[in-house]
């Protein structure tokens, strides 16, 4: 008899991958533990081992094939002396979809794409499709070329090329003096980076994820954010703390938290949370040049997405500016980071029902560009905030308060908030889905403020 070997999921967020290389050929005997193939995920090239013993029948997916879905059959294994069946005879089960609650908006819709171009980019600038991961790496590399005082420090940033491959190639270009692997010691290396900042260097401190930065939050707030004030302006700390923030996929409560409102609360910090690759690049470059401590919140699920990035020698965006990514007249949808994927898709759904939504990507959470939000509300008279973080004391809470304070007379409905649910992130697939905001939630909230 024969069984199917399926494309494996090799990371929490993997949905598809490249079958880079077969290490077995048809007819080979394999034992459990033998390496069958090399599979490239969005983060790394992984070896894929046999589980069962038998003989390789047909290889169903050719070497070098990209975009092989998780759980798609990639080979047949003949066990207990069975014979290979003709491929056509194999009733391949429909590939089971990988968890994809946050990944629905795989690419911006055509409407939004037009608005992706930063207004400050000159007409006719060539746009290059770039992943967010590459955009972040390019931003660091460009700034490191420009300023010898900039260095990158964190866990697995050098030899491993980044736990999420964001620092790929930096060690080769800049050497071990400027790309520094640390022990697992978040509190220690955050403090060390801040001290180096006091001494005039410009550290980029990578946290493997922001969840682990809670070990270091005393240093970030008490030492980085407050020292300029406490020293009467004598001490400076030009430092960037960066890494993936917010829920990833199926990693449960301790690895799925959005820290946006935590850091946005603190005077002395700047806080950036981009969604698009161009913003990731232009704002990370700005963050590295900024003389203040900057919290740079990335998102693991967005790392692999491609967006157009302007081909310019030195593309730097201003910190503290939100952007209207799609103009509209009926309702304002405000979001940042992964929430932008939700509002982009929700806007399409709403358009089908004749509702013209204006979309704002905050991009920076501190200082918050309330002017752009207020201007929009004055036009649409209705607002919905969308974020993955918990609802209590959230970014949405702050925006709702500001809108009520500054544009109360313009509101035709109370501001609405769409947030993650007020619970620790559950592991079970169905519960996780319930805990996170969805496109349907956004559509429902938008219709509610329109009384429709």
């Amino acid at each position: 008899m024969s069984t199917q070997i399926l494309m494996p999921a090799l990371s929490p967020t993997m949905e598809e991958g490249k079958l880079a290389k077969w290490l077995v050929k048809e007819g080979d005997e394999v034992h459990s533990g033998d390496i069958l193939a090399e599979i490239e995920t969005d983060k790394a090239t992984m070896e894929f081992e046999a589980v069962d013993e038998g003989r390789i029948g047909k290889l169903l997916v050719a070497e070098g094939t990209e975009g092989v879905k998780v759980n798609a059959p990639i080979a047949e294994l003949i066990t207990e002396g069975g014979e290979a069946q003709p491929v056509a005879a194999v009733s391949a089960p429909a590939p089971v979809a990988a968890p994809k609650q946050e990944v629905k908006a795989t690419a911006p819709t055509p409407v939004a794409t037009a608005a992706l171009i930063e207004p400050s980019v000159p007409d006719g600038t060539e746009m290059v499709s770039t992943t967010v991961r590459e955009a972040l790496r390019d931003a660091m590399a460009e700034e490191m070329r420009r300023d010898p005082d900039v260095f990158l420090i964190g866990e697995e940033v050098a030899q491993y090329q980044g736990a999420y491959k964001v620092s790929q190639g930096l060690l080769d270009e800049f050497g071990a003096k400027r790309v520094i692997d640390t022990p697992i010691t978040e509190h220690g290396f955050a403090g060390l980076g801040i001290g180096a900042g006091f001494a005039g260097l410009k550290p980029i401190v990578e946290f493997m994820t922001w969840n682990f930065a809670m070990q270091a939050i005393d240093q970030i707030i008490n030492s980085a954010a407050k020292t300029r004030y406490m020293s009467g302006g004598q001490m400076h700390c030009p430092i960037v703390f960066r890494g993936p923030n917010g829920p990833a996929s199926r990693v449960a409560a301790q690895h799925s938290q959005d820290y946006s409102s935590w850091y946005a609360h603190v005077p002395g910090l700047k806080v950036i949370a981009p969604y698009f690759a161009a913003d990731a690049k232009g704002l990370l470059k700005a963050a590295i040049r900024d003389p203040n401590p900057v919290i740079f919140l990335e998102n693991e699920i967005v790392y692999g997405k491609s967006f157009p990035v302007p081909k310019l020698d030195d593309f730097v965006l201003p910190i503290g500016k939100a952007r209207v990514i799609r103009p509209g007249k009926d309702v304002t949808l405000v979001s940042y980071s992964m929430g932008v994927a939700l509002v982009l898709e929700a806007a399409e759904e709403l358009a089908k029902e004749g509702i013209d939504a204006e979309l704002i990507d905050l991009r920076t959470l501190r200082p918050l560009d309330t002017d752009t939000v207020i201007e929009s509300v004055k036009k649409t008279n209705r607002i919905v905030t969308v974020e993955q973080g918990w609802p209590v004391a959230s970014i949405g809470s702050e925006i709702a308060a500001q809108v009520v304070e500054k544009a109360f007379d313009y509101l035709d409905a109370p501001p609405a908030r769409v947030n993650g649910k007020d619970v620790p992130m559950p592991y079970a697939h169905n519960l996780e889905k319930l805990a996170l905001p969805t496109v349907e939630d956004v559509v429902a909230a938008a219709k509610a403020v329109l009384y429709r």
Binding site: G188, L192, G195, S223, H236
Partner: protein, 335 residues
């Protein structure tokens, strides 16, 4: 700051051995801290200094011995019992006292207070209020020294109480791993607020606390300024020579409470008095100077008189100086 450095046989710069002038300076610097702190305690009692105020009285030999062993360009960072460190680096007593009274003329424009003071000019990096947090920060200053290849060493002070914080060991590990030019000074004054070393520390020999990271350490009589200077000079030479970090445990004692509001019921009055009588760093060192015919009793009295004048002037200045302008509330938050 010390006299111009001398270069030892192995090519590493070090502070010169003390002569009669430097020995007299040790006495002067220690007494300045003692009288300044006595005055600060007095102003606190009058309500002119607010909040927490941690006095350095009893520990003067540590900071004076170490500071005089430093070379120009070296940096200092410590926790919140920091007035002595600031005066030792040469910061102006008027500026320090004005910060204590919360005035615009203070080193932090009155926004930092007793625990948070800095001087970029004197390479004094604070003044930090969170126990142990200054240790990774100091390790980062040393990281920058190595990165810039400037030959400077960072002194990172901590109390023996801070030496039980996890981040201290994270720092030891990184400093040894990367051979950073940092000298850790553990000021063991026997009590972490009200908790004695015996009640808090499984390994009470703090100079051994780096052993599992291969960081060498040495125990020093922190009540003897000459012993501190000599140990500091040797340790700085070791660290400056690219050998990685080192720990000096200074056995010392504080006479006053942990802060001004601490009644210090956890030890007897006899214990404090006995140390004052036998070990006081200033009295003992003054006697030595007289015994060696370097000074007379009259000379020491003259030094005291001169210092009392400096301290009184600083206090008067700090009382008269205006509070920060209300507009300062919003300055220095961001660059």
């Amino acid at each position: 700051m010390s006299d111009p450095s001398v270069v030892e046989g192995d090519g590493v710069s070090t502070a010169p051995a003390p002569n009669s002038t430097t020995l007299k300076k040790f006495y002067h610097d220690m007494l300045l801290i003692r009288r300044f702190e006595e005055k600060a305690g007095q102003l606190y009692g009058m309500g002119l200094i607010g909040g927490f105020c941690h006095l350095y009285i009893g520990q003067e030999a540590v900071v004076v011995g170490m500071q005089n062993a430093l070379l120009p360009g070296d940096q200092v960072i410590t926790a919140y019992r920091d007035h002595g460190h600031m005066l030792a680096t040469g910061m102006d007593p008027k500026g320090v006292m004005s910060e204590l009274t919360g005035r615009a003329a203070g080193y932090s424009k009155g926004k930092g207070g007793s625990m948070h003071m800095f001087s970029a000019e004197k390479n004094f990096f604070g003044g930090h209020g969170i126990v142990g947090a200054q240790v990774p920060l100091g390790t980062g200053l040393a990281f920058a020294n190595k990165y810039k290849e400037n030959g400077a060493v960072t002194l990172a002070y901590m109390g023996e109480g801070a030496a039980n914080q996890g981040q201290v060991y994270e720092s030891f590990n990184m400093a040894e791993l990367w051979h950073l030019p940092v000298l850790y000074i553990v000021e063991n004054n026997r009590y972490a607020m009200g908790t004695s070393v015996e009640r808090s520390s499984a390994q009470p020999d703090f100079y051994k606390r780096g052993q599992s990271f291969n960081v060498p350490g040495e125990s020093v009589d922190g009540m003897d300024v000459e012993a501190v200077f000599e140990a500091g000079r040797k340790a700085l030479e070791f660290v400056r020579g690219g050998n990685g970090p080192m720990i000096l445990e200074m056995k010392t004692y504080r006479y006053r409470g942990h802060s001004m509001s601490d009644p210090a019921k956890y030890r007897t009055r006899d214990e404090v008095q006995s140390i004052r009588d036998r070990k006081d760093p200033i009295d003992q060192f003054g006697k030595k100077l007289v015994d060696r015919d370097l000074v007379t009793e009259a000379d020491l009295k003259a030094v005291d008189k001169e210092i009392r004048l400096i301290v009184n002037e600083a206090a008067e200045f700090a009382i008269e100086a205006p509070e920060p302008d209300a507009s300062e509330l919003y300055t220095d938050v961001l660059a």
